[in-house]
Symmetry: C2
Subunit: 262 residues, 2 copies
DNA sequence: TAGTGGTCTAGACCACTGG
DNA sequence: CAGTGGTCTAGACCACTAA
């Protein structure tokens, strides 16, 4: 069970707090194989006795390792070893959905057509809900109609069709209209980016040369309960749009966390 | 200073732990304006006395609010109010750089040309370091040479030119070769995605029809000290490649955190 | 130096899980 | 039911910051 060690030692030097020393020792023991991944760590009370520290100190150590993703706690069960190495991963932070779009704010939608579609396109694998989805086609522009950003086709979940008549009038993005009116919150956005050739019709709408390239984005806006609220397909002339992103290395716990408060 | 409230009340019902009730109360007071953003909260001992709970409970409450990004603690100073609302933001998690690429693993690079470039392309805004960057052109394939994924051009920071001769032999991605050999760690990757037309030469290399569309990715691999280790430009025939991503809403603290351990 | 948050103890009871 | 982690108390001393 790995070598004992009395944390009471080293009364001077070693300014490191005991819970960190203990955390290190636990990591050492996990890596030595004493507690393989998936196994349960000894109970807090046992660790407390074994290392001669209070349960508080043990819990602080375990808390740190839990934050690092090495352990997980389960009331009534125990503390499970989740990993031997604290995992690094890359993360992209996006402040808001507008940042995800990468448009400067203040764009508006000019509606060309309002129709209904049985199911939002073949390549969008949504369940056929048996209802037609309100569908809007148009182009997005900034400030004046001359400043065209992209052609777009929007599919609205019929459950939210109340907002459809208002689309194109205000400046709120559609997902914001849904969030406001129905108190729904977008919890996830899926995006697919691909390259396409501008068809003559689309080229005309965005005032670009037909036959040149465009960047197509297909986005699914998903609310709670995994309900798809809205699907959009946009095509940007490639000389006007480039998709930029930045990911950073981070040593991190699971996506869990969250907090109290509202 | 907002209404008092005795947390000792409600001995039954209200199974919520006291530290969460206290956290909520503190949030209420912050939002009421009692403690504006930037101000210091009363000391832990004072809160402990005021609410009739132990300092431990106060600290747990503050810990939660700190995790939520509403407060920050500063030893010797106090607890500062950082925000009145816990901020939501969207996050994309990427397990590894390979996930960022979205290639199935096990791809290899076939080298066509080895040259040197004064500065990695005009559209790559790097400082001209006064040295030529080793440059490699080729295509990436999976398993057999018939399975071509993309054409690619790679610029290596001359500081790492030792690895250049080995490129194309192993299966390690170049950034892994750098990480291993120089103990450098990629801490950030920047990516720009745009749409292009396949030139006849590139089309030939990836076995696609010239004149069709391709998705171009420009990536900068950045290590510690913000040093650019490597720049790559890849062009994927668009019928073979689509860039998919998913962002999730998260209520979150700053990118800080990290933990002890190694 | 006075006051803050950081660490730590030795207790206690509760909520939850599994057999 | 026994055993786990979750919450909580009433103390204590230390490290740090600012005046």
């Amino acid at each position: 069970m790995a070598s004992e060690l009395d944390l009471e030692e080293l009364p001077f030097e070693a300014k490191e707090p005991r819970y960190l020393m203990l955390a290190r020792e636990i990591v050492r023991e996990i890596r030595s194989g004493a507690y393989p991944v998936g196994a349960l760590l000894p109970a807090e009370s046992e660790l407390s006795a074994r290392f001669g520290v209070s349960r508080f100190t043990v819990r602080e150590a375990i808390r740190k390792l839990t934050e690092a993703g090495l352990l997980s706690r389960h009331q009534g069960v125990g503390t499970r070893v989740e990993a031997a190495e604290s995992q690094a991963r890359y993360v992209q932070y996006i402040g808001s959905i507008e940042d995800f779009w990468q448009y400067v704010a203040d764009t508006r939608l000019h509606v060309l057509k309002r129709t209904k579609t049985r199911t939002p396109l073949a390549n969008v694998d949504l369940p056929d809900l048996g209802e037609d989805w309100p569908t809007i086609e148009g182009y997005r522009y900034r400030k004046t109609l001359a400043n065209r950003i992209c052609w777009t086709r929007i599919f609205i979940n019929p459950f939210y069709s109340d907002i459809v008549p208002e689309i194109g009038s205000g400046t709120d993005p559609i997902y914001v209209m849904i969030e406001k009116r129905y108190k729904e919150k977008i919890t996830e956005v899926q995006q697919q980016i691909s390259a396409v050739i501008l068809s003559p019709e689309i080229a005309k709408h965005v005032k670009a040369k037909p036959g040149t390239t465009g960047l197509q984005t297909l986005r699914r806006y998903i609310g709670s309960n995994n309900r798809v609220l809205e699907v959009t397909i946009s095509i940007h002339p490639s000389d006007r749009f480039r998709y930029d992103q930045k990911i950073r290395l981070e040593y991190v716990r699971g996506p869990a966390a969250a907090g109290a408060t509202g």
